[in-house]
Amino acid sequence: MKVDVHGLTLKYGDAVAVSDLDLAVNEGESLVLLGQSGCGKTSTMRCIAGLETPASAVITIGDQTVFDSGRGINRAPNKRNVGMVFQSYAIWPHMTVFENVAFPLKMKGRKKAEINEAVHETLELVGLDHLAERGASLLSGGQMQRVALARSLAMQPSVLLLDEPLSNLDARLRHRLRMELRELQLRLKLTSLYVTHDQDEALALADRIALMQAGRIVQIGEPHEIYANPKSASIAEFLGVDNVIPVTPEDTTCVQLTATGQKLSVEPYEAAETLRLCVRAEDVLLAAGGTGDVNALPGTIVSFAFQGSTVAYRVRVGDGLELDAVQMKSAGPLFGMNDAVTVSLPARAMRVLPAEVAA
């Protein structure tokens, strides 16, 4: 079901964890809350679950208002029909797998036969039917994760909340479960809200991504949109842009590198108080001699690392300014320490962005 959060503010004592946040998850949509630790994404999720009490907010799930500070409504978490997969899985170790998954159904007062059928059906869905009678403390991390998922699915939640559910797994398993999760979610048309700090995970799992910084959402959109058009330099940096360089504006298509005073022509940008030039390492071109390009800067190699199909370089282009560059091995000659090079920065690969999204 659709989830609507309006004007959410959450405080811990004097510290504001979430400030005046609006968020809507459409029915059947997978929305990912992405942000660094401490940005308030888990807090936001816990407010929807009812595990935290916001200072102010109106939260509706489907057509039911579960929290409204103005009207004094605060529905208990167990009456919100919200499923939740915890980061720690929170699998009850004193129960079997079956008992864990049956728990929400038992709480709903379902009949035994009905529970039995539903549990086995759900366990089959996550591929754990053969472990139903196993004690939950004997499971591996990946199995626990599936039990946690099955337990939440079994209750047929109005919305499924997932709090960094893959962060405790090793890389390979994480990758596989990510695919499985996406598949399930598309098949079951689950309305889900997923919290993570891992941008790859977010890009893979989201219908839409909401990027959070310092307690508010700074950008929301489809994964490819956000990837291609970050709204600020800090978002770009978070999404893996390697070179984020302070610049001062010259005119609408030209900026000056603050550190060295060199001028670069760029595509038109919006004015802002502090500007940053953002460019990915793979878009920085290196050449041995002069190239005659517009944005060519002389530089010196200060370090390099062989990475298989590519080579990563660090190039000094002036006092206090170093750039990261990645070259395909086939793209040209390999450079060594202290080699003089020409660095070219193609205008269309660069983006001039405000340092932060304006509040």
Binding site: R71, A76, P104
Partner: protein, 584 residues
């Protein structure tokens, strides 16, 4: 757990205000009830002691007036007698702590980090004296070590040697206290030594330090907090210890603050107000000691204990393996073997007058089980046993429940008043047992509820006195259970109460059981707290033993002590199985 129960929208009213007020009211109810309960149990007795120290009359039923506030009682505190008692307390505390740390530290080091002979056995030697309540040990030593009639000297004379043992002086008091508090030092230091992450030592080794240097520069500094912790704990415990001072010091005329308070209370007419003033002096001493410890430890953090089962390296003692074993055995002899044997000898001897120890073994009917039969038949002992069991079980049960409620609120909720709840719960640690006993007496004398003189007041007293141990026990096990487990049950449809009942409580089963057993054992051993509270109908085993000794019925006291130790042994084996920790 902010607010879990559903709130329904209220129509036709200024709803926000009403909702907020109701929320506040609901949030405040539980902590307020708990705080009121703890205030009655713990704060009221403390307050009455303080008030009595400034009053001209002690609290009595129907007579509790604060009109005659005075400082006269404190004149007594500065009198020669009480200054002497305070100095004695300090001397005894410092001396006994130093000796106990030496013994406990030695045993801990030898068993945790060396290849001494009989390492496993020496570990037991370090723990065993805990099973002997300190007053049973003191009682045993008073029959063993007195100058004329002590069994040690009689045996020496049997052998034609001069008797040189004399326990009835301040040095004797120090030694006996040290013997029975050394296990605390042993436990704490052993824990730190054996749980230390060996990587830390190996890192020092790799970076060029030879083993002796590793020990001196890494190992010992890392054990410092445990060592200081043990030092302060033992210092506080020995300063406030009443029974040993009374039994050993009483015969020697060495008065300490606790025995001085006891004497003031038992003089005719009772000088309760002065006792209260002295009690405040005693509390002040204890507070200074604990404050010192905080300052010493606050400056550094030591996150060395990893808690994983690791195997630290052991030092080869070489030629010292045997001497180290012998030293350990010497402690075993003095702390456990000789005292238990002498109690058994006294209890089994056919007459209370003992002329010869070795000679008794040659005589045909020198030994009889009469004293044991006497104890088992005695209605007083039977009644006391029933009382002890009933009171201890009830106190442990109620204490665990209360501790659970308080620890849950403190650790798992954001309800207002959590800090005060924790402080009040831990407060009895800083209040010497004899002072708390005094306060409890006055509190329940003036209460309109008629519990004074019943077993109920004993239960109340034990719950109050053992709140810190209960709170700490439950709190640490709650801390080990991930709160997500309970939240998860709530998310999946259970109400908060139901989630606690079906998830949290079952997961805490082991922790709650071991806390219950710990409290049960502490209650069974406690003598000082109920000392002012018992009546002829509500005597406990510990009090019967103390009374018998006080009245010179040594054989029965010895026999009761031995039976009592067996009960405690059984209990502690039980609690060890549930992983209870016996650290005070």
């Amino acid at each position: 757990m902010t607010s879990q129960t559903a709130e329904k929208p209220v129509r036709n009213r200024p709803p926000a205000l009403r909702g907020r007020a109701r929320r506040l009211l609901r949030e405040i109810t539980l902590p307020a009830v708990l705080l009121a309960l703890l205030a009655l149990l713990i704060l009221a007795p403390v307050a009455l002691v303080v008030l009595s120290a400034f009053a001209s009359d002690t609290p009595r039923p129907g007579n509790f007036d604060l009109s005659g506030l005075t400082l006269d009682n404190f004149v007594n505190v500065t009198s020669a007698g009480s200054v002497k008692a305070a100095l004695n307390s300090l001397a005894v505390g410092v001396g006994a702590s130093a000796l106990a740390l030496l013994i406990g530290g030695f045993l801990a080091f030898v068993t945790a980090r060396t290849n001494v002979y009989w390492r496993g056995f020496l570990y037991l030697v370090g723990l065993l004296p805990m099973l002997l309540p300190s007053y049973v040990g003191a009682l045993a030593w008073s029959v063993l070590g007195s100058e004329n009639a002590g069994l040690a000297n009689i045996t020496l004379r049997d052998l034609g040697l001069p008797g040189f043992v004399d326990i009835n002086n301040i040095a004797g008091l120090i030694v006996v206290l040290a013997l029975y508090y050394a296990p605390y030092a042993f436990l704490l230091i052993h824990g730190a030594l054996s749980l230390m992450n060996p990587d830390l030592e190996e890192a020092a080794n790799v970076h060029g330090a030879p083993f002796a240097q590793v020990l001196r520069r890494v190992t010992l500094p890392l054990v410092t907090p445990a060592f200081l912790g043990a030092a302060v704990l033992i210092l506080v415990l020995t300063i406030e210890n009443f029974p040993v001072s009374q039994i050993i010091g009483g015969a020697a005329g060495v008065e300490t603050l606790p025995t001085y308070i006891y004497r003031l209370m038992n003089s005719t007419p009772s000088r309760g107000n002065e006792a209260a003033a002295v009690a405040i002096a005693l509390v002040a001493v204890v507070l200074v000691v604990t404050a010192l410890q905080r300052r010493m430890l606050a400056r550094r953090t030591f996150t060395t204990v990893s808690g994983k089962g690791m195997k630290p390296r052991r030092i080869d003692l070489g030629g010292w393996r045997l001497p180290a074993l012998l030293a350990g055995l010497g402690y075993f002899l003095l702390s456990t073997v000789l005292p238990v044997l002498s109690l058994a000898f006294v209890a089994l001897h056919d007459s209370p007058y003992i002329g010869t120890v070795l000679g008794a073994f040659g005589k045909p009917d020198a030994f009889t089980a009469e004293a044991f039969a006497d104890v088992l038949d005695s209605s007083i002992a039977q009644r006391a046993t029933v009382n002890s069991v009933v009171v201890s079980v009830a106190a442990a049960l109620l204490g665990t429940l209360l501790a659970f409620a308080v620890a849950y609120v403190v650790q798992r909720t954001k309800l207002p008043g959590r800090q005060p709840l924790e402080y009040v719960s831990m407060l009895p640690l800083a209040i010497p047992a004899i002072v708390l006993g005094l306060g409890l007496l006055w509190t329940w004398l003036i209460m309109p509820i008629p519990v004074y003189g019943t077993l109920a007041v004993m239960v109340i007293a034990f719950v109050a006195a053992q709140m810190p141990q209960g709170f700490r026990g439950v709190a640490s096990s709650i801390g080990q259970v991930d709160r997500d487990l309970e939240d998860s049950a709530v998310m999946h449809g259970a109400s908060r109460t139901r989630a606690i009942a079906t998830i949290t409580a079952p997961l805490l089963r082991v922790g709650l059981t071991s806390t219950f057993l710990l409290l049960l054992m502490l209650s069974m051993r406690e003598l000082t707290v109920p000392l002012f509270l018992f009546t002829s109908d509500t005597r406990l085993l510990s009090i019967v033993i103390f009374d018998d000794f006080d009245n010179g019925i040594l054989q029965r006291a010895a026999a009761t002590s031995l039976l009592y130790c067996l009960v405690i042994l059984a209990l502690s084996i039980l609690s060890r199985r549930f992983g209870a920790s016996e650290q005070r």
